[in-house]
Symmetry: C2
Subunit: 493 residues, 2 copies
């Protein structure tokens, strides 16, 4: 979920100053329109420790007209509050219609902290998240606009910031600050669960990279502005449900999550032969082990055209006993498949206990090609993220090992391969007009991939973004990743 | 939840024959339109043991064109099915677009049975219900029409039916049948939880009284027909979400849940004085006990105009120490209240630990007066049932004792009291034009009350329907009910 907020967004001072002027004016304008529109705006400010949440709140307050905004900080509960159901404290401090409430701390804080410190069980936490989703649905059904901001720092960035505080302020970390740094991984996992469970169409999360304060603040302001403007524009047709058509606003140069993949990675033929043989032997053994343990595996391959999915799949299946796997190539749906929910055609191929199903392209087509090409309407692909998460949760809960690959390659390498395919007789069938068309939509795909990774990558079923400019490197990485994942799953047995 | 399905609906044979002819033709007509409309219809047939579910399925099959309908019975899981995630077996047998699938047994069966036999924990059960709601939302988002039928028998009716089977078939009950009879209460509670958690706007439950087979079958057919016709009519505007405007179809003479209240109940003045004093003393002691135990109580009064809410509240508060309670009269909302979610004004008055809040009218106004008078739009009051259940669940989870009263009186008695009020000087202020207007809408209110009880009464916070033709009887009943509820809540401490 947080991959897209670790790509290194930065804004320089000049650009910030220019952008700030514009944003400030636009926010005030939107706020004026809000007064007449009479819906409440609930801004939730949350995120990892030392991401600068209070600075963001100060900045938003500086940009907004104070008469129409109130900041509500939720510290420790008072006696008054403890003696009533948990939401009483929130309900009495929500903004009235026509104004903005900035919630610094919210209904997410306690459940996440308590779960991270293991004061609540997994089930209690899950139940709490359902209650939160219900609460937010109630508010948005009633017309509220919810803007949920999560400020993220990578583990390294957080540590750096804590160190800087200590140096600048010539003091030691408080025990509280220390515990957060140490608990980073656990907090990340718990937060991810919370965010994905409450990332709904009418109340989506916005994860903001907080490493660079200028980027962080501008992005927060832009997201609030975009949400306000979209909602104000939609005011005339309030009965129509909001589709998740939101593409995050851009601040500075766009950096896609794929930009974090180091495409220089390569493997020499000699090393390749050796390592491939190693991993294939390992997978073969693991395959039989999984069969005996009745542990199923689902591997799916997505990636740019000509990134080498086919070759990688062949290297994978070559390692497995032919009785143990099926490869399901996903093309356009059949009539029978079109008569059902789009997930139906993936459900039907799920493996029996102990077997492998390898999907060559997958259910992610809904939020990739179908989104980019307009085959699915925005409300269809918009709700698919949640549907896919629920679908994969069922597989994972059933004990199935799920491995997801995106094969990434550079535009230059893709072009080289396209040309090569045209020239080599037995590869000509592989290149079609569609490939060239897709190539033109590289930018649109990048955005779709960003959102796909943000909304569907999680600790139990992460996206593996594989550098595939060097096919040898890609194949070994893929085999190793499948082996590692399956080994891990088998240990849970 | 099941109160409205224990009111004694019956249909005689002549009427059944006439109605059946008409229904049969109408269903075939709707089925023809469905073929072009190309959405799938999922009919879920479930309910208590021996309610005649298989007879209903047979009947529906007889009425429908077999080419567009398939019945899917879910018996024990096969090996094939057990080795895959639970929904695999369902996903592969859902009806394609344009046809009807009758699911005899469904995703509800296993979770309810396993919870009733305590094979799963409360938390696991709750998580399963969330998954079911997600699944159904996915299907309805995709265009499916869901018709969820629950066939109900009272405990007595079920026992009678089981006895009859034994007599007719000259055999003993199977151990399975025996266990269901004995577990009736537990099944009722678990089913109620399941139904309320999954009773959503796009996939509402229909509880059908199954005591009289003719009523049961006709009602099932009528519900299916109504759902089909409404959906087909809405086909041109599929983007607009379906509001819960569904009033259950009527089959034969309407019997309201209030008809089950025995209004002849009465109490002589002498007995009244004695019992009132008894219950008031009891409540006084319990009030202090609750204060010390920090157990809060919320009592709410709804009822027909002139049913005696004020008098009953005064008898209640007279028993309590003045420091321990507040009475909140609910009139039209203030400006400040209108600027918030409608539940906000009830949240704000929640009692601190150990105190009482008595609401004279309540949040149920949303689904009573606001519904009947059109102050709330259908989608607003339609989603209020779920919101209210979630709100009350928060109070109950926090340990608050919640007691809900509807004071019922006959139309004749109401008229007598209206006239009396007009004549007695100090009571004149109590009777307004609004009271007369409400009286005219008695029938509309009866429907609203039926739905309110069906959707918001549950084991933890049941509706108490109090016979109030005799005020003395009503007051003593109310005091006793509050005492019993509070005593029960205190034992849980």
């Amino acid at each position: 979920m947080f991959e897209t907020a670790e790509v290194g967004h930065r804004i320089d001072k000049d650009q910030f100053d220019r952008e700030e002027l514009r944003l400030h004016a636009q926010l005030l304008e939107a706020q004026r329109a809000l007064r007449d529109a009479k819906f409440p705006v609930i801004v939730i400010v949350s995120g990892v420790e030392s991401a600068g949440k209070s600075e963001v709140v100060n900045r938003l307050n500086a940009w907004l007209d104070t008469r129409g905004v109130q900041t509500v900080a939720f510290w420790d509960e008072s006696d008054e509050e403890r003696e009533r159901p948990a939401y009483w404290r929130f309900s009495r401090r929500l903004p009235p219609r026509g104004s903005i409430g900035i919630l610094f701390g919210s209904w997410y804080t306690q459940p996440i902290v308590q779960r991270a410190f293991r004061k609540t069980s997994r089930e209690q936490f899950a139940a709490e998240l359902v209650r939160i989703a219900e609460l937010e649905r109630m508010l948005t059904d009633d017309g509220a606009l919810m803007v949920k901001l999560w400020f993220h720092l990578s583990k390294k960035a957080q540590q750096k910031r804590l160190d800087k505080i200590v140096r600048q302020e010539r003091r030691k970390l408080t025990p509280y600050e220390k515990s957060f740094g140490k608990l980073y991984d656990r907090f990340a996992k718990v937060s991810e669960t919370a965010l994905q469970a409450t990332d709904t169409g009418p109340a989506p999360w916005h994860v903001v990279e907080a490493t660079d304060p200028r980027y962080r603040d501008l992005m927060a302001g832009r997201i609030l502005l975009q949400a306000l403007e979209q909602r104000l524009a939609r005011r005339k047709a309030p009965a129509v449900p909001a589709a998740r058509t939101v593409q995050e606003p851009e601040v500075g140069a766009h950096r896609a999550v794929l930009d974090t993949v180091d495409l220089r990675a390569t493997l020499s033929p000699a090393v390749y032969d050796k390592r491939l043989a190693q991993e294939q032997a390992r997978l073969n053994a693991l395959g039989w082990h999984a069969y005996n343990a009745k542990r199923s595996t689902v591997v799916l391959f997505e990636g740019w055209d000509a990134a080498g999915k086919g070759g990688a799949i062949r290297r994978t299946t070559a390692a497995l006993d032919a009785r143990l796997f099926r490869v399901i190539p996903i093309a356009a749906p059949t009539d029978e498949e079109l008569a059902q929910h789009y997930l139906w055609r993936f459900w039907r191929h799920l493996p029996r206990a102990g077997y492998f199903t390898i999907y060559d392209r997958s259910w992610y087509g809904r939020v990739l090609v179908e989104r980019v090409e307009g085959f699915a309407a925005p409300e269809q692909w918009g709700r698919a993220y949640g549907e896919i998460n629920a679908f994969e949760a069922q597989l994972l809960d059933h004990g199935i090992c799920v491995v997801k690959f995106w094969l990434h390659l550079s535009r230059e390498e893709q072009l080289r391969r396209f040309r090569e395919r045209k020239q080599i007789a037995h590869k000509q069938y592989k290149i079609t007009a569609e490939d060239w068309r897709n190539r033109k939509r590289w930018g649109a795909y990048e955005h779709a991939i960003d959102e796909m990774v943000a909304r569907t990558s999680n600790a139990r079923a992460p996206w593996h973004l594989v550098a595939a400019d060097c096919k040898r490197h890609a194949r070994v990485t893929i085999l190793k990743t499948i082996c590692d994942s399956l080994e891990h799953a088998l240990q849970r047995n």
